[in-house]
């Protein structure tokens, strides 16, 4: 029982960055932007938070838990917002190719993250040996006191830092907004058929900008969670790995539904760590780690073969919109 609880606990921790990334990418893709820059944006979000936290930790004697959370959080949002704005400017205003722009953003973002992760101390001539924000991480990892008293139930439900719950809340809000509000309806129309949306009086470019920037900021939080909570505030270059791409895979896996992204992300998180909990020879670990991608390919093929219209990618995904080409 304890082991199962541990497994679920670890899966949820693994799945949370993915959930942020997937929710952000779903919002973005619903506006018709296939943002392949999300992996880069998650790096930028993470390192921006780290930089903010680093300044706070090194420049103040007393660490106020509230500020310790707030400063990195705001820095993370600002960093991801700026990169998302760049993506929007290039693809929406300048109508550049989305694939190329996204990949360039990822190249830049991953480089940006690793560069500052590896060189921040050097640049600032700081005297700390390495980039560890343990005190800040402690604030992020604060869990309710009663969790440990509840046994497995506490482990599964109450033993996380606030960002795990925040991810769920954001995904639920995204789901409600997309499904039940006017804004969501308009956003979906923009991603499906921008010409129709335009004719109905919807400002297509504004929706694309707002959705993509919000999506980027949400994804950036995934990076922040990874450093501050999952890695205890210790930055390691390329430590975040390919989770950004995995988040894009989840978007397909959950057929563009944020509500499904919650279990979907945890499921992928579970697959990620499954080998620790089952008795398989070391050799087969890569095969198990391959599963998320294989499952995603299977879903992608199945939805395209079945041709159920509701499960298809937004129809105008990846295309820039130019009114005069109607």
């Amino acid at each position: 029982m304890e082991m199962i609880a541990q497994f679920i606990y670890r899966s949820i921790l693994q799945g949370t960055p993915l959930l942020y990334g997937a929710t952000g990418e779903i919002l973005t893709e619903k506006s018709g932007n296939l943002n392949l820059g999300i992996p880069g944006i998650m790096y930028v979000g993470a390192i921006s938070g780290v930089i903010g936290g680093f300044f706070y930790q090194t420049n103040s004697d007393y660490i106020d838990p509230f500020l310790a959370v707030l400063i990195p959080l705001l820095c993370c949002l600002l960093g991801s917002l700026l990169v998302s704005l760049l993506y929007c400017f290039l693809t929406v205003t300048l109508r550049a190719n989305q694939n190329v722009t996204g990949l360039a953003i990822t190249t830049f973002g991953v480089g940006f993250g690793n560069f500052f992760g590896g060189s921040l101390i050097k640049i600032l001539d700081s005297d700390v040996p390495y980039l560890a924000l343990v005190k800040i991480a402690k604030a992020y990892k604060t869990t309710p006191d009663f969790a440990s008293d509840l046994g497995p139930i506490g482990t599964i439900f109450f033993s996380y830092g606030f960002m795990v719950y925040l991810a769920i809340i954001i995904a639920v809000i995204a789901s409600v907004v997309l499904k039940r509000t006017k804004v969501g309806l308009h956003l979906r129309a923009v991603g499906e058929n921008p010409a129709t949306a335009d004719a109905a009086g919807i400002n297509v470019n504004r929706y694309k900008y707002v959705a993509t920037c919000l999506g980027g900021m949400i994804a950036g939080l995934g990076g922040l969670f990874y450093v501050m909570d999952y890695s205890n505030g210790i930055w390691s270059n390329n430590g975040f790995g390919d989770r950004g791409w995995l988040a894009i895979a989840i978007v397909i896996f959950v057929i563009w539904k944020p509500s499904l992204a919650i279990p979907g992300s945890y499921f992928f998180g579970a697959l990620y760590i499954l080998f620790n909990y089952i008795n398989v020879p070391m050799t087969y670990i890569p095969i198990i780690q391959m599963l998320p991608y294989v499952v995603t390919i299977f879903v992608l093929v199945a939805t395209s073969v079945r041709k159920k219209r509701e499960n298809q990618p937004p129809q105008a995904l990846g295309l820039s919109y130019f009114r005069e080409e109607r």
Partner: protein
């Protein structure tokens, strides 16, 4: 006669697509963009190193083509160019293959497997031949799988090829676990000791470079002077025209992706058999993604691609030198590459679109019915 009414909410400017782009102005716009980007790169570098700009550019140039580095830079160029050439036929067809990384890796894997399992058991010459065939075959298969689904069911190729990359990575990891029981992340030259490409003129890499030169010429010829290349262009430009002249679009899609994958496979062969003699899951080093940008920047022209690939490699090698000189992280290169890319991507707009300011009384643009 009625008075002409003033538009009440006329926008300040009006954007139209250019029908004609004179070569001169497109070269000019791109040159300006690259110069601006280099200036910004210089400023960014100065911010982090405090060095003066002239000396920074010197360091970059030294890093790229300084003594003893020239051949390595050319080899890097060759490898990136090879992958860029590989993705080009598919892109000309408007098939957004972002799975070159995986196609290269699967080529690496099959090459390494041949070296590992057949090394010492067959003559070296034959081994290299088998390696070549297997790398081509593996890459082609990796390219055809998404193409098959795209051609038959319209499965989104961008997402499919992206996923295939990670399947390839994990397959390599699997091989690493089998080949090297020590649990290391790389299978090195000691285990892959056979099937190395011969050194030409007493130098490493020369054979690799020559092979890429040949591929460049062949791809150029294939795209511009063969019937297949012509069909690719027609399918990419207009599927309706392809239908009108009776081209079998499905066949062309699958055939072209097989070719794209096969060349990626060759790139994998060059990486493992021709240079590193080792394999790990990061061997392609993002070239599959960089290649997409290189190919796109060159407007899918194999000859221009030599220049765009050179630009990227030059910058990466130069930035490497800058970062190592100032004790900065090597990822500095990615930041500079990113900046250059943003400028070039952005400048395309000014080549393809025209901004008409309203006060000049713009001409009405006729919209389609």
């Amino acid at each position: 006669m009625a008075k002409v009414k003033q538009h009440t909410r006329e926008p300040l400017f009006h954007i139209t697509k250019r029908t004609e782009v004179p070569l001169k102005s497109s070269v000019l716009v791109r040159t300006i963009a690259i110069v601006l980007a280099l200036i910004v790169c210089g400023i960014v570098t100065k911010l982090f190193t405090g060095d003066n700009p002239i000396s920074i550019y010197k360091t970059i140039i030294h890093g790229a083509i300084g003594s003893g580095r020239f051949l390595v830079t050319i080899h890097e160029l060759a490898l990136l160019l090879c992958v860029s050439l590989a993705v080009t036929p598919a892109f000309r067809m408007k098939f957004w293959n972002i799975g070159a990384e995986g196609q290269v890796l699967i080529g690496c894997l099959s090459t390494a497997m041949c070296m590992f399992y057949l090394g010492g058991k067959v003559p070296e010459g034959l081994l290299i031949l088998i390696m070549t065939c297997m790398a081509i075959l593996a890459g082609a298969i990796w390219g055809v799988i998404p193409a098959f689904f795209k051609a038959n069911w319209g499965t989104n190729e961008t997402l499919f090829t992206l996923m295939m990359n990670y399947v390839a990575i994990q397959l390599i990891e699997y091989f690493l676990k089998i080949a090297d029981k020590s649990g290391s992340n790389v299978v090195g030259p000691n285990l892959l000791s056979h099937g190395w490409f011969p050194r030409l003129f007493g130098q490493n890499y020369i054979l690799n470079i020559l092979i890429v030169v040949v591929i460049t010429v062949l791809i150029y010829i294939y795209l511009n002077f063969t019937k297949h290349g012509y069909e690719i262009s027609v399918v990419g430009e207009s599927e309706n025209t392809a239908r009108y002249i009776g081209i079998n679009v499905k066949k062309v899609v699958i055939r072209t992706m097989a070719l794209s994958g096969a060349i990626c496979g060759i790139a994998g062969l060059l990486l493992v058999g021709g240079s590193s003699h080792s394999i790990d899951s990061n061997l392609a080093d993002g070239r599959g993604f960089t290649a997409i940008m290189v190919s796109w920047l060159a407007k899918f022209n194999p000859i221009t691609m030599v220049l765009t690939a050179l630009l990227i490699v030059f910058l990466e090698r130069g930035a490497d030198e800058v970062s190592s000189m100032f004790g900065l992280n090597a990822d500095f290169a990615e930041i500079l590459t990113g900046i250059i890319l943003f400028f070039i991507i952005g400048c395309e707009f000014f080549i393809n679109y025209k901004i008409n300011f309203t006060h000049k009384k713009t001409e009405e643009v006729k919209e389609g019915k």
